[in-house]
């Protein structure tokens, strides 16, 4: 049997959540959900794990801090120590207080940009990429559940559609792929 994709369109995030919960309880796997804004509470229902982008940001921040420490140490203490205002740059630990603003800014710079770039790559959102939402209304006022028969070998397409019709669905679209 050909693989079929079913799109169930809802008019409200709460209706969509109720329907998704019903489908998942019945053992149907939901492939994805498309919405114009984040639907809070959908992640545990369709089995999405929490994103690790926060950890990425921390790692980039740590990298930034390390680079800034290394850079200020090399430039101010090791390579060309200067005596500024009677305060010689001999030891890093005595001079580090003056470098704190730069250390902080560079940490934030790396954490923010590192995370933002990772975010864009992980989402596959880069300049010039085509939109991949199934329906142009899903970025406006419609909320769409995507189901695939290949994910749900226990249920055929008609059984899934039947189940969807019992939910307050706005419309159901199907396509072959």
């Amino acid at each position: 049997m050909a693989n079929r994709v079913i799109y169930a369109v809802y008019e409200d995030p709460e209706l969509l959540k109720g329907a998704a919960r019903k489908l998942v309880t019945a053992g149907v796997k939901v492939r994805d959900v498309f919405s114009p804004f984040p639907v809070h509470g959908i992640d545990p229902i369709i089995g999405l794990k929490r994103t690790r982008l926060g950890i990425v940001s921390f790692m980039f921040g740590s990298l930034g801090l390390s680079l800034a420490l290394l850079g200020t140490y090399y430039m101010m203490i090791y390579d060309w120590p200067m005596d500024i205002g009677g305060k010689p740059n001999e030891n890093f630990y005595q001079n580090i207080a003056a470098f704190v603003p730069v250390l902080f800014e560079f940490t934030v710079l790396c954490a923010a940009h590192g995370m933002a770039i990772t975010y864009l790559i992980r989402n596959k959102t880069l300049p010039g990429m085509p939109g991949r939402n199934p329906d142009p209304r899903s970025t406006n006022d419609k909320f769409i559940i995507e189901l695939r028969t290949e994910d749900n070998h226990g249920h055929d397409a008609d059984a899934i559609t039947g189940m969807l019709r019992e939910t307050p669905v706005f419309e159901i679209n199907e396509r072959q792929c």
Binding site: D32, T51, L53, M76, N123, T125, G131, T139
Partner: protein
């Protein structure tokens, strides 16, 4: 979904659906621009062109074409720099700090405030660059390996901290703004019918699809960036204040400068947000989204930060008098300033920043669109005078009476300043024409919690 107390006034007025919100915000992008927009753009870009001319004249003739002298070696240049940076503090404050505090009213304000921030920081960056004199050597502010021995930048200097603070703030603000814009661009891409618009917004939207994982990542990124941007906002103006506070000039050498400057920055930034937003609200028919309540909330922020600034002025005045140091007798907050040749600048500051904004304590005034707008302009002027007073008044009577002098701006000073205002408004007008001026997909999330038709017993207007 989060529910808000029914007693709170609604943030989205009228009976509106998700689709209505999209239509309201996209309408100005899809429709033809009004004649007023073209007139304003023409005026702004003419002033901008004149400003660019003045900057080119300055670069080719040198800093001597400004009115600086050997006593007052910083004047309008750094005044304008600090003024623009201060204005550039509101956007990220609104979107980052108010996100952390879960203030839902920020959603109608944050997009345009962030745009304003970015343009203001761009204008701010112009002044340190051109005041170097030899702008072609501006790259020397970065720690680059070079052929002059090992000539490194001085990491002990607040001027270098400024380079790092402002470049970080600028680039992080752009990223934060753009990440929020991507889903809205995707909506526009899916709604517009004109071919070039579809292509244009298709490229800008980076192929956003709005699936569940993307939204989950979006929320995480927004939260973490808000957490990073919050200390960043406070650090930037603290560092700017240290350009003065770590020096030995009487009046500048003051430990309260960092918190006082940050409060002043938020004060002036919110004033500029009001100046622009209240006009945009009318021009783009956004009355349902930017309501009287939004204006009142912003005015309360202005009152709090204005109060902090007023206390700082009082402290500075008292300390310079109480120290009994004769060199403090002519600092910007002193009897000498209030009665001397620069008394007009001193009193302009007091009237614009303390007396007139105090009217906001009266509820009818702070909830009036007209008065909020009028007072915001007064604050913009007052905050320019604050920086002018700090810089010029503290310098004009230095240690040696024979070198006491006044500052007179030349046409290049005036032209450069007006020019940056022209460039700023040109960019802002282009933004208002081609970009979604409200974070409308974010606004949809509060429609049910804070929309008029969903709150308490209020019926949709159409059913009355």
């Amino acid at each position: 979904m989060h529910q808000e107390a029914a007693i709170r006034p609604p943030l989205i007025l009228g009976h509106r659906t998700y689709g209505d919100i999209t239509a309201d915000v996209i309408a100005p992008i899809e429709n033809k621009a009004s004649t007023t927009w073209y007139v304003l753009l023409t005026i702004a870009s003419l002033i901008a062109t004149y400003g660019v001319g003045c900057i080119l004249y300055l670069i080719s003739h040198g800093i001597g074409s400004w009115g600086l002298n050997k006593t007052i070696d910083w004047a309008w240049d750094i005044t304008n720099f600090v003024w623009w940076v201060g204005i550039g503090h509101a956007g990220t404050l609104i979107s980052a700090v108010l996100l952390l505090f879960r203030q839902r009213w920020r959603m109608a304000v944050n997009r345009s405030a962030e745009a304003m921030t970015i343009f203001a920081v761009m204008m701010a960056a112009v002044f340190p660059m051109i005041h170097m004199g030899r702008i072609w050597l501006a790259y020397f502010v970065f720690p680059l390996p070079n052929q002059f021995g090992s000539l490194w930048v001085n990491f002990n200097s607040p001027l270098l901290w400024d380079v790092f603070a402002i470049s970080t703030y600028f680039s992080v603000s752009i990223v934060y703004w753009y990440i929020g814009l991507i889903p809205d661009f995707a909506t526009i891409r899916d709604q517009v019918v004109k071919k070039w618009q579809k292509k244009f917004y298709g490229i800008l939207s980076f192929g956003w699809s709005g699936n569940a994982k993307a939204w989950q990542r979006f929320e995480e990124v927004s939260l973490v960036l808000a957490g990073l941007a919050t200390p960043l906002v406070f650090s930037v103006h603290s560092v700017v204040s240290m350009d003065f506070a770590t020096s030995l000039v009487p009046g500048w050498h003051s430990t309260i400068f960092p918190p006082y400057f940050v409060a002043g920055a938020i004060f002036s930034g919110f004033a500029m947000v009001q100046t622009l937003l209240l006009v945009m609200r009318k021009a783009m028919k956004l009355e349902a989204y930017v309501t009287r309540k939004h204006v009142e909330y912003m005015n309360i922020v202005i009152m709090v930060t204005g109060g902090i600034v007023a206390v700082a002025y009082g402290t500075e005045f008292f300390m310079s008098w109480y120290s009994g140091v004769e060199y403090e007798a002519y600092t910007y907050m002193s009897v000498g300033a209030a009665t001397g040749q620069y008394a007009w600048a001193f009193w302009a500051l007091i009237i614009c920043n303390i007396l007139i904004p105090s009217m906001l304590w009266f509820k009818p005034i702070r909830t009036s669109f007209f008065w909020a707008w009028a007072i915001s302009i007064v604050i913009n002027v007052g905050m320019w005078f604050e920086r002018f007073d700090i810089i010029v008044l503290c310098l004009h009577h230095d240690y040696l009476p024979s070198s006491w002098t006044m500052f007179y701006p030349t046409w290049v000073d005036v032209g450069t300043f007006l020019g940056t205002i022209g460039i700023f408004f040109t960019l802002y007008l282009l933004f208002a024409r081609f970009f979604p001026v409200l974070a409308f997909n974010e606004l949809k999330t509060i429609l049910k919690g804070s929309g008029e038709s969903y709150k308490g017993d209020v019926l949709p207007k159409s059913q009355h």
